[in-house]
C-alpha cells in the first residue's frame, strides 16, 4: 500500500513533469523565437542605421557640391531641352565660326533609345538639323565650337559637299540630351 508521504512525493514529481511539459518547454520555445526576432530586428535596425548614415553622408556631399558645378551639370544634362534655345545657340555658334547659317530645326525627341538594363536609365535624345555653308576652315571651326559647347552637341550625321564658288555646304545632324528618369525613379513613382 502506498503511504500518504510517498503519494505526495509522486504527485510532486508528476506535477513537476507536467509543469515542464506544459509551461517551461513552450515558454522556452517562445523565448527562443522572441530572441530570434530580437536578433532580426537588431539586424534590420543596423541596416536602417547604416542606410541613414550613408544617406546623411551622401546628402552632405551633395550639399558640398558647389552651385557652379551643379549649374554646369544641369546645363550639360537639363531636365528638358528647350529647342528654341538650342537653335539660337546653333545660330550663334555658326556666326562665331564664320559660316553662312542657312537653317536649323528641331527634328524630334527620341524616347525609345536603348531601353537597356542600365539601372541609371538613359538620357532622352533630341535631334537637331543644321545647314550651313562656308569654306573648309570655317566648317572645321564650327565643328570645333560645337564640340566645346557647354552641353553635348554630338554630330551623328554629317554631309559635306562642294558647291559653287569653292564653298562647301554642310548638313549636320546634331544630338543633345535631356535627363532621363532612371528605372529606380520610375519604380518609385509607380
Amino acid at each position: 500500500m502506498i503511504t500518504k508521504g510517498l503519494f505526495i512525493q509522486i504527485l510532486m514529481l508528476v506535477t513537476s513533469v507536467a509543469i515542464v511539459i506544459t509551461f517551461i518547454q513552450p515558454k522556452f520555445t517562445e523565448i527562443t523565437e522572441v530572441q530570434d526576432n530580437i536578433a532580426t530586428y537588431q539586424q534590420k535596425r543596423t541596416e536602417v542605421l547604416s542606410v541613414n548614415s550613408k544617406l546623411a553622408s551622401l546628402t552632405s556631399r551633395l550639399e558640398g557640391v558647389s552651385s557652379n558645378d551643379q549649374r554646369r551639370l544641369f546645363d550639360y544634362l537639363p531636365d528638358k531641352v528647350d529647342s528654341i534655345s538650342v537653335i539660337r545657340d546653333l545660330y550663334l555658334i555658326s556666326n562665331q565660326a564664320g559660316v553662312f547659317y542657312k537653317d536649323a530645326n528641331f527634328a524630334g525627341e527620341d524616347k525609345t533609345i536603348e531601353e537597356s538594363e542600365n539601372p541609371f536609365g538613359n538620357p532622352v535624345k533630341h535631334t537637331f538639323e543644321l545647314s550651313v555653308e562656308g569654306n573648309y576652315n570655317q566648317i572645321k571651326k564650327l565643328l570645333s565650337l560645337l564640340e566645346s559647347n557647354n552641353y553635348p552637341l554630338e554630330v551623328h550625321d554629317l554631309n559635306i559637299a562642294k558647291i559653287e564658288g569653292g564653298f562647301l555646304s554642310a548638313n549636320i545632324s546634331l544630338v543633345t540630351y535631356a535627363y532621363g528618369k532612371s528605372n529606380n525613379d520610375k519604380a518609385n513613382r509607380i
Partner: protein, 239 residues
C-alpha cells in the same frame, strides 16, 4: 554463567534492523529527488516566466528603436541624392562617349595624299561605337588610288577602309592627256570606319554661348589643310 544477551535492556541490533535502515535510506533519496525536482520546477517556471517577460520587453524596445530609425529616414533627401547620382552618371556616360569630329578631319588630312581631292564627305555615327565615313574622292591615276588606300590602311586612327564604286575617265593610253586636252580622272568612294575610342574629345575649355553670349574661342587642333581643295603637287615619293 548469566546470559547477558537476553538480560540486557539495550536492544540488540539484528540483520532485520539493518534492512529497515537501508529501506528508509531509499525512501529518503526518492523524497529528496521529488522535493528537488519540484522546487527546481517552481524556480525554473518563475525564472522562465520572468526571463520571457524580459525578452518580450527587449523585443518591444527593439521594435520601438527600429520604428524610430525608420521614421528618421528622409525620403526626400534620398530622392534628391538618387536623382543627382543618376544625372551625374548619365552625364558621365555621355562624356565618356564624346568624340571629336575635328580629330577625324585631322586624321583624314594626315592620311590624304596630295594627288586626291574630296568631292563630298559623309560621316555617320553608329551606336556610340564607330564612325562610318564615305568620302567621294577624285584622283588622277590608279597608282594614286592604290597608294591612297595603303595610306588609309596604315593610319592608326582608321580601323578599316574599302574602296567602292571605282570609275575612270580620260585614261586612253594611245592619246596623251596633254595632247587631247582632257584630264584623266579616277573617282571612287572610300568607305572608312573610325572607332569612337580612336577620336576621343579632349576638353580644353568649355564655351557657353547662351544666355550670357560669352564665347571663349578655342581651337584644339590646328586648322591647316583643306581636304576639298585639290593640290597640284604630287608628293607620293616623299610619303
Amino acid at each position: 554463567m548469566t546470559d547477558l544477551s537476553n538480560g540486557s535492556f539495550i536492544p540488540r541490533q539484528g540483520p532485520v534492523k539493518k534492512r529497515r535502515r537501508s529501506a528508509s535510506k531509499k525512501v529518503y533519496f526518492f523524497s529528496l529527488v521529488c522535493y528537488v525536482a519540484f522546487l527546481a520546477t517552481l524556480l525554473g517556471s518563475a525564472g522562465v516566466y520572468f526571463y520571457g517577460e524580459l525578452v518580450d520587453r527587449q523585443l518591444d524596445e527593439e521594435v520601438v528603436a527600429l520604428n524610430s530609425e525608420i521614421s528618421s529616414f528622409n525620403e526626400i533627401n534620398m530622392q534628391r541624392v538618387q536623382e543627382f547620382d543618376t544625372r551625374l552618371q548619365q552625364a558621365y556616360d555621355r562624356l565618356n562617349k564624346s568624340a571629336s569630329i575635328v580629330s577625324i578631319f585631322s586624321s583624314l588630312e594626315a592620311a590624304t595624299i596630295n594627288t586626291v581631292s574630296l568631292n563630298s564627305l559623309s560621316i555617320e555615327r553608329e551606336n556610340d561605337e564607330v564612325f562610318n565615313l564615305a568620302a567621294n574622292i577624285n584622283t588622277d591615276s590608279f597608282d594614286s588610288t592604290i597608294f591612297q588606300r595603303e595610306i588609309y590602311e596604315g593610319s592608326d586612327t582608321i580601323d578599316s577602309v574599302s574602296i567602292e564604286g571605282l570609275q575612270s575617265s580620260g585614261l586612253n593610253a594611245s592619246v596623251s592627256t596633254e595632247d587631247s586636252g582632257l584630264e584623266s580622272e579616277i573617282s571612287f568612294i572610300a568607305e572608312i570606319k573610325i572607332p569612337l575610342d580612336a577620336v576621343p574629345y579632349v576638353s580644353t575649355s568649355v564655351i557657353r554661348v547662351a544666355p550670357e553670349f560669352e564665347v571663349e574661342e578655342t581651337s584644339p587642333l590646328p586648322i591647316e589643310a583643306d581636304l576639298f581643295e585639290e593640290s597640284t603637287e604630287v608628293n607620293q615619293d616623299e610619303i
